[in-house]
Symmetry: C2
Subunit: 335 residues, 2 copies
DNA sequence: CTGAAAGCGCTTACAG
DNA sequence: CTGAAAGCGCTTACAG
């Protein structure tokens, strides 16, 4: 490949087929007004030249880019990668291309990503916000994972409260009375809802709610922050006998902390987690956790956006909550 | 958000600022020919209107989209997700947007993705091929992970041969003489090179090369196919005492197989793997493996593409091999 | 059934 | 230093 070849244009095709540009355009889009014979001629010409229509020009003319932007904190996190795939499946099926942008959880980058997408005239945006969102009336936005109450043409998140309630009551069922929590800062809805539900669930079980049993990791829910939080719990005079972690990443860190202290799961401390870790079966011990359904989450977010396109963004914004399901393994003490 | 607002255009800004469209355009791009006062007026007007330039129109006019396409088998696989992030960092820094496309390892979808990218007039493509690649002279392509000899303006892959050689000689150092291999079909370069290197390394160590010790998983390197391959090895009359797996995904399956048969790693069979599994420390047992450097892989691929842009695609295509590094844990028998 | 013309929103010679 | 004009490659009323 020594040099870059010229992309043939519609004018090239028209010339080759001996018709006008308008007729060539219609023929390729299978307009009923064009005679079958002309269509054949134009299509043959297009094939011969290897014509590939210029989407940029079409988008400019039709004022619709067929692009949808998707903004996630970190595509390298399995959770978001799978949500992206789910959304992509639905949107590509509907003729849209997905522009994926990472924010590294920085509000500033999120705002910048939103601007970039706007300048590409995306038809819509799927956003898992890290806090940098300002509602815009120039493009419909569907929020997922972390919601912004009152914003967007739709929202999709997991049933955070129900999920944590299930985890807590499973531990209560095992007879635990001293239950700790390794969570995330309550600045975004998923962190907030899981924390609040933990407190509510413990209270609902008739257990006393000890503030020293609640430890929060960092804003990126990192394993290392989970490790630190768990270390703090284990160092208490009367440490909890069971712990709920708010994510698989926090659980990874928590497991390390238990191991580093020479304790065993579930014998010394039981552990259950939000988010089912990938290959959770191979971990030592296998972790009891809430099943992943992030692919469905992406699909749903995409569907809500498509729905907004159709209804012209006038309907009441839907807020969908995805149910969660408990996968029982050994870390809770079962088996 | 009841309705979608109109995007202000450059004409709107020009009118607001009381200048011509050409002057407005120049002012916003900081052209030296425009007087400072006019620049200020135009910029203020743009800010007041919330003007966001239409990239589509600019791309059409300048015949450069500032888009780079990136085609991967599966974004939900950590390996590719991190490569994407690495590439994205480099490319966004250079003013390009990255369009990520999944192929699910289907050659047909890969070809389709390539077409879609061409019609969006991407300036270049980063491709981890699954076999559907046809070289095009319309856009520069950098191949990564799986290479196509003689194609592309550049190539980046890991040092597959050296990596497998390191794994084999580590096992030989442990005294193993019956070494098995759980690999992938040799249809793409990474599968082929790792397989070939295994055979060469075993021979180089003076061990006899038994064909029944070489088992291949499926084309997607799936854990389940690794499990099957390992089961076959364990069922042999004289099973290998150590096994090399060609990827972390295959290793996951292999570990399951060993466990299902009631055997232990490394006591009954030692295991080392290409690709360092994420949170490999938490697996039981912790897996000795070759370190991940996929982020660097993506960065390098992107750099090669940028380089091709600059040199006008005339230079000899570079083929870069990323070195690998052994992370010693317990599955090999060390400690 | 087909074509000439206008226009999407920019950039960029060209003229002044 | 500024503006009028042409053109990037399409689509789509409008006329015939």
């Amino acid at each position: 490949m020594a040099t870059i070849a010229h992309h043939p244009t519609l004018a090239d095709v028209a010339r080759e087929a001996g018709v006008s540009v308008s007729t060539a355009s219609r023929a390729l889009r299978d307009d009923a007004a064009v005679s079958p014979m002309t269509k054949r001629r134009v299509r043959d010409a297009a094939r011969r030249l290897g014509y590939e229509p210029n989407k940029l020009a079409r988008s400019l003319r039709t004022r619709s880019s067929s692009f949808v932007g998707m903004i996630v904190p970190d595509i390298a996190i399995g959770f978001y990668a799978r949500a992206v795939k789910g959304a992509q499946d639905v949107l590509e099926q509907a003729g849209y291309q997905v522009l994926v942008m990472n924010t590294e959880r920085e509000a500033g980058r999120e705002l910048q990503a939103l601007r970039t997408l706007l300048s590409h005239r995306v038809d819509g945006v799927l956003l898992a916000t890290s806090g940098g969102f300002e509602d815009s009336d120039r493009v419909p936005v569907v929020l997922f994972d972390n919601l912004v109450p009152g914003s967007g043409v739709g929202s999709v998140a997991r049933a955070n409260r129900e999920g944590v309630a299930i985890l807590v009551s499973h531990l209560v069922g095992h007879g635990h009375e001293r239950i700790g929590f390794v969570g995330a800062p309550p600045i975004l809805t998923s962190g907030f809802e899981r924390l609040e539900s933990f407190q509510a669930s413990v209270a609902a079980a008739g257990l006393s709610l000890r503030s020293e049993y609640v430890r929060l990791g960092d804003e990126s829910w990192s394993p290392s922050s989970g490790e630190r939080a768990m270390r703090e719990l284990l160092a208490l005079d009367e440490p909890p006998t069971a712990v709920v972690t708010a994510s698989d990443t926090l659980a990874f860190g928590a497991i390390e902390a238990v191991r580093a202290r020479g304790r065993r799961i579930p014998d010394d401390v039981a552990l259950v987690s939000f988010d089912d870790p990938l290959f959770g079966d191979l971990l030592e011990p296998p972790v009891t956790a809430l099943a992943r359904n992030e692919r469905e989450l992406g699909e749903l977010a995409a569907s809500l956006l498509l729905h907004a396109f159709q209804t012209g963004v006038r309907a009441t914004p839907a807020e969908v909550r995805l149910p969660v399901e408990l996968i029982v393994r050994r870390s809770c003490g079962c088996l």
